[in-house]
């Protein structure tokens, strides 16, 4: 269980680093842009680390990813249902 918590925590940090790093590197200027590239590198490093065969890369990790993606998709569907209900009323 602890492995799942740590590995999925790394996944969350990686996703925010890659996402925000992309935005900051694209829209930032001078020093901010450099920080954005740093975030991108850190995100890529975490992605490389968690997919190493000797760390977390196994079926349990893939199942954790499935659960995370499922939860996100479910949340998006729920918000779409809410928006449809509000707009149609």
């Amino acid at each position: 269980m602890m492995d799942i918590v740590i590995s999925m925590g790394f996944v969350g940090v990686m996703l925010s680093m890659l996402g925000m790093g992309l935005l900051i590197a694209y829209y930032g200027s001078s020093k901010t842009r450099n920080v954005g590239f740093l975030f991108l590198i850190v995100g890529a490093g975490i992605a490389y680390y968690i997919t190493l065969p000797e760390t977390y890369a196994d079926v349990a990790f893939m199942n954790g990813m499935l659960a995370f993606v499922g939860g996100m998709v479910g949340g998006i569907i729920g918000i779409i249902v809410f928006l449809v209900a509000i707009i149609k009323s």
């Binding site: 996944v11 925010s16 901010t32 349990a60 954790g64 499935l66 209900a85």
Partner: protein, 159 residues
Amino acid sequence: MNFSTDYADWGVMDFFVSMLIVGIGVALLGTGMFTSYFGAGKSQKIGYALLFSGLVILTAIYVLTFDAVEGVESMFDSSLFMEGLVSGISALAGMMLGMFVILFVLMKVDTVDDLEDLDLEDLEDLDLDEELKKLEEELKQADDSGEAENNSENSEEEK
């Protein structure tokens, strides 16, 4: 380690489908609470409906996982369900942590580096009191000229 890409090895039903339903339930519950509290009239009723449906979905998934009601066969394995739930919560916590780190770094890094290019000598030489006096005089002059024009118009009308 078994980093399997075989689809049959993945627990799609126990992980993806269960978390999908939980995600829908939590989203409906959250939006329902928000809408029923802040909404008015028809919106408030929709909020109550969303809240109710969210509660029903979460109760259903609980019953279908933990054998809470006799006679209802469980669809999801409870230990795998808990693993999936922990995975989702951990990933969300990790995302929040990452966002905090990014905000902290962005706030600590001196991102305003264009100040060196500013010509601050002009600002240092500026006497603010003198500038203020000049502005006040200009305003007074503008007021005086406005009043004079009004007076001349009134005298013409009287004639």
